[in-house]
Structure formats: structure tokens, C-alpha cells
């Protein structure tokens, strides 16, 4: 019975993927991609990975989808033209098909083998949980055992935001906010925004003992910011470079500062003293959540109207 559910899920998943890749219209491709993300969220639950399910729904399908739709809206319709059957006659089509088939065959061979790993990492993860400062193993891995990965990952996010800013050629160009003077939207917003913030903070708080954590909380926060922005409430903060940058590096700085402090108390990077482990992790997560939310939001805002400002400039 369970296998039937799995197979049905996979069938839908693969159809979504195929539609998304083969659809001629860009908008459809994006919509199918978002649906694929939602299917994946369900699949992750079947794989006993509720954390990834949350992240996939919030980041994978949600934020990625928003970014794609936002980009698509700025390209003119003639660039989303239909592909014709003649594409199949191109060498490129056959090359892609051969590459894809050989990837699948080779991977199937690899996946098909019986695997008996001699080292089990799950055992020590559970055993050391008491010393990690949190009760949820995934949070323990992300912010304690392998916290260096997470530090670099936050750096990756900051880096991407900085590139997005550097591509805006003129700092003084204000971001034109698309205002939607819709009273209903504003009324809904007063209801939604507090709830979004509450959900975000709950996810953050829950991360210590159950699925949830900084990434999920941060992306919900970003969604709240984006909603706020789309409703037409444009704050000067969006337009001032220093505020933007400060928000980006806040999480990274707190993380790095804790890392440097532990370096002198424990002689290893990010080796929290046992009694402070829980508190350190909470502070880092809180700061990182704010920064992730701010970075994802900035990425959305900064890519807004890039084309407009430059097209104007080229015409002048």
C-alpha cells in the first residue's frame, strides 16, 4: 500500500519535471517547477525528513518560485516563444538526450548496488546530542558538529547579495516600488504580517528541539518582507546601501564573533563551552534568521527593475 503511494507520488513528480522542462511557454515551465517543489515537500516527509520538507516548501518552492516569476515578468513575451518540432532535428537535442540517458544508466548502476557502510555516523550524532546544546539532531549538525559549513554558507548568501548590489550600476537609482493600492490587500496584510512573524519566530524557537530552524524561519521572514514590499509600503531602508549591507552581514558577524571567542576559550573554531552551547546556538540562529530573511528579500528587491533603469540609461 505504502509503495503504491510512493509510486503515485513519483509518477506525479516526474510528470511535473517533464512538463517543466519540455513546456514551450516559460510561465508554464515555472508554474510546473513550483508544483514540483510542493510535490518534493511531500516526498521529503515520506523520506522521514520533515526539516527538508519545511525548507523545500519555504525556500525551494516558495522563494525560488517568487524569484523565477519575478524574472519572467520582466522579460517581454516574445522571448517566451514556442519551440517547434524542428528542435528535435537539431544535434543539440540528440546530444542532450544521450547525455541524459547515459547519466541515468550510470546512476542506476550505482544506485543498484548493495551498500554496507562500515562507518555509521548516526550513532555518534545521537550519543553526543547532550553535549551539543540542542535536542534536535539536525540543528546540532548544522550549528554545532558541522557549524563551519553553515558559516561558509551564510558567507555564500552574503556574497550573492553583494554581487546583486554591485550589478546595479548607479547607487542613487531608487528602487521603484510597484504599489498596489488595494484596500483589501492592506486589510489582509494587517492580519497576515503578524502571523508570518509569529510563524517565523516559532520555527526558529522550535528548531532547538524539533524540525525547524534558522533557514526555514529566515525564508518565512523573507516572505513577510516581500509581501510588505509588494503591498506598497516602501521604507527608506530598502534604498540605503548601508542599511542593506548591515542587515546582510549581521548574521555572519555574530556567527564569526562567536567563532573567534570560542577559538580563545576552547582552542578550536566554534567549539562552544558546554554550558554556553545552547545559548550560543540560539544567538547565532536568531541573528542568522534575521540576516537570511533580509538577504532573500534584498535579492528580490535588487533584481526589481534592473532592466528598466539600464534601458533608460542606454537610451539617453
Amino acid at each position: 500500500m505504502n509503495e503504491l503511494i510512493d509510486l503515485a507520488l513519483i509518477a506525479i513528480l516526474l510528470f511535473m519535471a517533464l512538463f517543466s522542462v519540455l513546456s514551450a511557454v516559460l510561465f508554464k515551465a515555472i508554474i510546473f517547477f513550483i508544483l514540483l517543489g510542493l510535490m518534493l515537500a511531500i516526498i521529503w516527509i515520506r523520506l522521514d525528513a520533515p526539516d527538508i520538507a519545511l525548507a523545500e516548501a519555504a525556500i525551494g518552492a516558495g522563494i525560488t518560485g517568487i524569484l523565477f516569476l519575478n524574472a519572467q515578468a520582466q522579460l517581454p513575451p516574445q522571448h517566451t516563444q514556442a519551440y517547434t518540432v524542428s528542435m528535435c532535428k537539431q544535434s543539440r537535442f540528440w546530444f542532450a538526450l544521450i547525455a541524459s540517458l547515459s547519466t541515468m544508466i550510470v546512476l542506476t548502476l550505482a544506485v543498484n548496488q548493495p551498500l554496507n557502510p562500515t562507518i555509521s555516523i548516526n550513532q555518534p550524532i545521537i550519543e553526543q546530542l547532550n553535549a551539543s546544546g540542542v535536542e534536535h539532531p539536525i540543528t546540532a549538525i548544522l550549528l554545532n558538529y558541522r557549524s563551519f559549513d553553515t558559516l561558509l554558507e551564510i558567507a555564500v548568501l552574503v556574497q550573492v547579495a553583494v554581487i546583486a548590489l554591485s550589478l546595479r550600476q548607479h547607487e542613487h537609482i531608487k528602487i521603484h516600488s510597484p504599489t498596489l493600492p488595494n484596500p483589501l490587500l492592506h486589510a489582509c496584510l494587517t492580519l497576515f504580517l503578524p502571523m508570518l512573524f509569529l510563524v517565523s519566530m516559532y520555527l526558529l524557537w522550535a528548531g532547538a528541539s524539533q524540525p525547524g530552524g534558522a533557514f526555514q524561519a529566515g525564508s518565512v521572514l523573507a516572505a513577510a518582507f516581500i509581501l510588505f514590499y509588494l503591498a506598497g509600503f516602501n521604507t527608506p531602508i530598502n534604498n540605503h546601501e548601508l542599511y542593506l549591507k548591515f542587515g546582510w552581514v549581521f548574521g555572519l558577524s555574530v556567527f564569526l564573533m562567536v567563532g573567534i571567542l570560542t577559538l580563545f576559550t576552547g582552542d578550536a573554531l566554534l567549539a562552544y563551552p558546554l554550558e554556553f552551547a545552547g545559548v550560543s546556538i540560539f544567538f547565532i540562529e536568531f541573528a542568522v534568521t534575521l540576516s537570511i530573511g533580509w538577504i532573500l528579500f534584498s535579492l528580490f528587491v535588487l533584481s526589481q527593475n534592473i532592466s528598466l533603469s539600464n534601458v533608460k540609461e542606454n537610451n539617453e
Binding site: G37, A71, I125
Partner: protein, 102 residues
């Protein structure tokens, strides 16, 4: 055949579809969607296969996938910003070497 293994095979299929789209499409945003499908396939294999080998939920690959998802969204955002800038300058949505193929 447990669900872990079944979903690893689903990951293999997603990888195949992703690779096809990545090479086939010259439209940069479509190529980016294919990249995202490919990365989701890799994530499924990462968790599914490890859990199939351990015969129980394995926390480490799950944490790796969380990191991977964030890196993937960062990559997507970066690529989209570049694509939009490229469109603003060149009025094209494909790279110069792909333009004669259209």
C-alpha cells in the same frame, strides 16, 4: 524495495531530466530551471541512498541537503540577477554562441 530506495531512483530520473534540460535549452531561465531540477534529484539520491544503506533515517545527509537547498537558492538568485542584467544590455535571453541555434 523500501521507500528510501524507490525515491533514490526517482532522484536518478530527476537528474536525467535536469541534465537533458540543462543541455537542450539555450534560454537561460529554462536552463536555470533544469539546474534546479537536477539539484533536487541529487538531493533525493543523497538522502534516499544513504538511508537505504543505513536502513533508518540518517540525520547527516538531511542536514547536508538543507545546506544544499540554501546554496541552490543563492545560485538561482545570482543567475537570475545576471540574466536580467544581460537582457537589459543585450536584449537577449540566450548566450551569444547559442543565438544562431534559434
Amino acid at each position: 524495495m523500501n521507500s528510501y530506495l524507490i525515491f533514490s531512483y526517482a532522484g536518478v530520473a530527476l537528474c536525467g531530466i535536469g541534465v537533458f534540460g540543462f543541455i537542450f535549452h539555450s534560454h537561460l531561465i529554462k536552463r536555470l530551471i533544469a539546474f534546479n531540477i537536477l539539484s533536487n534529484g541529487v538531493f533525493l539520491i543523497l538522502v534516499g541512498l544513504a538511508q537505504n544503506a543505513q536502513k533508518q533515517p540518517d540525520h547527516l545527509p538531511q542536514a547536508l541537503v538543507l545546506t544544499g537547498i540554501v546554496v541552490a537558492v543563492a545560485a538561482t538568485a545570482l543567475a537570475l540577477v545576471l540574466i536580467k542584467q544581460w537582457y537589459a544590455i543585450s536584449q537577449q535571453t540566450t548566450l551569444p554562441e547559442d543565438q544562431e541555434h534559434q
